[in-house]
Amino acid sequence: MRITNAMLTNNFLNDLQNNLSMMQKLQKQMTTGKVIDRPSDDPVVAARSMQLNTDIDANTQYNTNIKDVSNMINTTDTALDQLETSLKRIRDLLISSGNAGYGTQERQSIKDEINQKVGEISQTLNTNFDGKYVFGGTRGTDKPTTTATNTVTTVVTYDSVTPANSTTTQTVVDKGAVAISPVTSNTVTKDSTGTTTVTVENEATPSAAGTSTSTSGTVTTTITTDGAGHKTTTVADTSAAAVSPMISQTIVTDSTGTTTTTKTSTPSVTASSTTTYTNTELAYNVSTTNTANEMNMINQKLVTEVSQGVTIQYTVSATDAINYKLGASTPAAPGNLKDLLQSIVNHLDGNSADGTAADSNAATELTNSDLTGITDAINNVLKLRSEVGAKSNSMDDAKSSNETNNENLTTILSKTEDIDISQVTMQYATAQTVYLASLQSSSKVIQPTLMDYLK
């Protein structure tokens, strides 16, 4: 092959370009620390790196979610601990109230302290974390509970016209109570034959008119409905002890939430008197217009995603803590802390559980049903705490698995797209040597021509 000057020059220039582009590529790798600068450098690495980055981003978000949930759970646990302390104190107080040496005065002091505890419990249930009420369910910006001060006034008057009867009217103004519209009125009459008649006026959902009778042993139950919201239930129990004189009780709840109880009976009270009790009552902080929905909101749990497709409910609702029995969610359900606390203070006042009448068994109730109730309530809180603890543990597990996952992903990403510094440094050194060699040899080949040797 004939070799010409242009060939040498072209060769030199091409090789120089190749060397320089190689050096530029290596230099780019050195300065960015990445194998690829743009996807076309290596589509496989690029696709892998994009996928890993997306996974890492998602994983980081799950990590944030887990941390947030953990914080929430820890706050819940602290609050439940406080709740437990309050309830335990109440139980201690109840036990001490059983002390035979305690009189009305001591019980009043106990009642005062319990009133304080009720406020404390409400405060605990209103714990706020990160702008949300921890026990508020999905209704995170409103307090789930509140306390109301109830003033119970009992007035006993002597009926002079029919000396056999007296009327006791007790009005309970319950600030936290749910108003009922329309006004309902219940009348319960127990006569001297042992027959109990319950008449419901203004039944919320009127049943169809008719009469049904059922007999079970000595008990005959007759239900008469007139279709217009009046329902009379008569229970005739031939074995029941007859009551003499006849007792009739009417409870009216009006649209302001005020309950008025009127009792008519043979005077057991011979003198007229007025007694006023002041109780602190735990109540749900819900509006009167959207009660059912708002109770539902409190009952709802918050949900978050802790890894792909895995969602967990991470809150405890106020209803979970309050309804210690039956797991019922309605405010009036039996076995709820709200009623229990009310019953305790009423019993301490020497009244019946609902505070409608004086009750001679009140003191005994304190150490029986009330004590059982409060123990159940404490057990319920313990159960909730163990659930929360389990969740907290599972969050710790989720967190560590998330972090391991993240580490793995990051390691794989690093292996995929990061350079091996020593390798690239060596390659660069080699490229540099080749470049210098090409410059040196070319400068020697290109320079001389025949002219240099001619005179």
């Binding site: 004939r2 010409t4 696709a47 994009m50 997306t54 979610n65 910006t141 929905n293 909101m297 918050l302």
Partner: protein
């Protein structure tokens, strides 16, 4: 016997021949670095001998009469030229593809920390955070802003791609102009070469120039070269489908050749009519508006796309498009002057070379269109899935005249608060109150909802109502039953189940590939359309069901980037290969035709010595003549 003067003449012929050879050597040395130059060689030949007729001595040897230069030849291998031109065309294709695809790669910004992929991750993360803090206006603002950033990035990428396509087209225009100019130059040289050749000389340097121009032309598209008499050539593109006489340079009758024109714009006269006004500039020369011609052509959308991506037309010598303005015989065509009398698409003669820069530039437009289309699909999939989950509506519905305040019933079901909207339609319809909150009337809302099917990457945007009042984002379990978020009295304000469902769309596999530019939200969920499943999740929120054939929005984007990367890598690889191949051909060419200084120096010395020897002969003859003139008679 010719005598001493004859000898003197022989020496003189030697002198002038060597001088000519030195001239050629000097010409070679002078052009050692000239592009396209082929070294030249003198061909020396001894002159016809002087025959001395003699009756007495017929066998006496003939005496030579010296030397003369018969021709000066250029040393060139035409097969190498052919190989170089073929490979140059291929390299031209991929040079252009490489340069434009690397631009597309820059625009798509796939692997960077600030690209679409990252923004999509952030978008879903923002929804995750919102699901935990739905009551929090900060979290809502972050969602609105992140979504807006994602929409903006889509808009930006879209407009960059559109701009790149425009750049491509203007590149095609420049190429057309340059090709026509090159063809004129080749034609001129072709005629000059013939004239020189006819007059009996070798037009070496002109042929070098013509070869150089043909090399340049071959980088634009691949060409056939037919050699004709007197070193003239006929040139035609390799692919000349549909054109009867495709010569673009002709040795004989050099006026009846073809040129190329450039289509500057294609606009539909009435939307949906299928009749387009096609504007083209004669020979790609846009410097003068007189060069613009308008022809009406009836086309389908696909044909319009084909023309839009190609844009180069066969034309006659003056640039009148064949089939549109003139026929092959250069007689004007009657149709196509008015919109009511359109020509058919088949009459358009598109210039569609197999290889070369024109091919590279036009083919890359189809790729840009393709990537734009994929971005549009991403935008639509995002808009439809997020809007559907946010509103619980699998079709946009029709908003009632007055927005229902309670739970929606069967008669007024609609998406009253779409999250993503088509900004082309929506941006002008908002009214802003004194507090800066934007709102849409229900009539305008219906217009906006109807325009949802035309959402593209270029116009996707977050509903301005939501941007100006982030509390309107629907995050709660039962928000789907109410027209607006504020009417929902069933769920608490930290309920983020709906936001969580939207965040989980990050992992929903959707049949994105089935989305077309006419797909509506109803089609998106219809079995006959995109066939996206619609089921309740673990929290009771109706949401998109993953399809086994589908892919997530982020992975679809990744696939797009992946495909782009492979295409670009292929272009780069072919460019590298072709460059190496061309280098070896160029080396071969340099080996054959290149000037070697050493060789020329050796020749120079050779010629110099012969010249000196001839001079010595003259001086000897001079001495002899001196003897004859002055020495014989004293």
């Amino acid at each position: 016997m010719a005598g001493l003067f004859g000898t003197l003449n022989i020496a003189t012929s030697g002198l002038s021949a060597q001088q000519k050879a030195i001239d050629v050597t000097s010409h070679n040395i002078a052009n050692a670095n000239t592009e396209g130059y082929s070294r030249q060689r003198v061909t020396l030949e001894s002159n016809s001998p002087y025959t001395m007729p003699s009756i007495t001595n017929p066998s006496e040897a003939q005496v030579g009469t010296g030397v003369s230069v018969t021709s000066i030849q250029r040393i060139r291998d035409s097969f190498l030229d052919y190989q170089i031109r073929t490979e140059t065309s291929t390299k031209g294709t991929y040079d252009k593809r490489d340069s434009y695809l690397s631009e597309v790669e820059n625009i798509m910004n796939g692997t960077s920390d600030t690209g679409l992929s990252t923004l999509m991750s952030k978008f879903y993360s923002a929804w995750q955070d919102l699901s935990k803090n739905a009551q929090n206006s900060d979290a809502r603002t972050v969602v609105a802003e992140q979504s807006s950033a994602l929409a903006d990035e889509l808009n930006h990428t879209y407009s960059q791609l559109q701009k790149l396509k425009t750049d491509c087209q203007s590149d095609v225009k420049d190429q057309v102009f340059e090709v026509n100019d090159t063809l004129d130059q080749i034609d001129k040289l072709n005629q000059q070469i013939k004239n020189v050749k006819i007059s009996g000389n070798e037009p070496n340097d002109l042929m070098d120039k013509r070869d150089l121009l043909l090399d340049k032309l071959s980088s634009q598209f691949n060409i056939n070269i037919d050699k004709k008499d007197f070193d003239g050539v006929d040139v035609s593109p390799v692919n000349s489908t549909g054109v009867k006489y495709p010569n673009i340079v002709q040795s004989l009758d050099n006026e009846s050749v073809k040129r190329f024109s450039y289509v500057s714009s294609i606009t539909e006269t009435v939307k949906g009519s299928g009749i387009y006004a096609v504007n083209y500039y004669k020979k790609g020369d846009m410097s003068n508006s007189n060069n613009m011609q308008t022809v009406y052509v009836s086309m389908t959308a696909d044909q319009e796309k084909q023309l839009d991506e190609n844009r180069v037309l066969w034309a006659d010598k003056d640039g009148n498009a064949i089939g549109l303005s003139v026929d092959e015989a250069s007689s004007p065509i009657s149709g196509g002057k008015v919109a009511t009398d359109p020509l058919s698409f088949n009459s358009i003669k598109l210039f569609n070379p197999d290889n070369g820069q024109i091919k590279g530039t036009t083919s890359v437009q189809a790729d840009i269109d393709n990537y734009t289309d994929q971005l549009n699909k991403i935008a639509k999939a995002l808009a439809f899935s997020v809007n559907a989950v946010a509103s619980g509506q699998t079709s946009v519905g029709t908003a009632a005249a007055t927005t229902p305040t309670g739970a929606m019933d069967a008669t007024n079901q609609a998406d009253y608060m779409p999250f993503f909207v088509n900004s082309d339609t929506a941006s002008t319809l908002y009214t802003t109150d004194s507090t800066g909150k934007a709102s849409l009337s229900n009539t305008d809302l219906n217009t906006v909802l109807a325009a949802e099917s035309q959402i593209t990457a270029g116009n996707i945007s977050v509903n301005k109502e939501i941007m100006t009042d982030v509390m309107k984002i629907k995050t709660r379990t039962h928000d789907d039953e109410f027209a607006t978020e504020t009417d929902n009295n069933v769920d608490g304000n930290s309920d983020g189940n709906r936001a969580l469902a939207i965040a989980q769309l990050a992992n929903s596999k959707i049949n994105i590939q089935n989305i077309s530019d006419t797909t509506t939200r109803a089609d998106f969920f219809a079995a006959a359309g995109v066939d996206t499943g619609w089921v309740a999740d673990s929290n009771g929120i109706n949401t998109v069901q993953s399809s086994s054939d589908g892919m997530t929005v982020t992975s679809y984007f990744k696939d797009t980037i992946d495909k782009l990367a492979v295409q670009e890598q292929q272009a780069q690889r072919i460019v590298t290969n072709q460059t190496t191949l061309l280098q070896s051909f160029t080396q071969s060419k340099a080996s054959v035709s290149g000037v070697s200084i050493d060789e020329e120096m050796a020749n120079l010395i050779q010629y110099q010595h012969v010249y000196q020897a001839n001079a010595k002969v003259i001086s000897t003859v001079d001495t002899l003549l001196d003897v004859v003139v002055n020495g014989l008679k004293k």
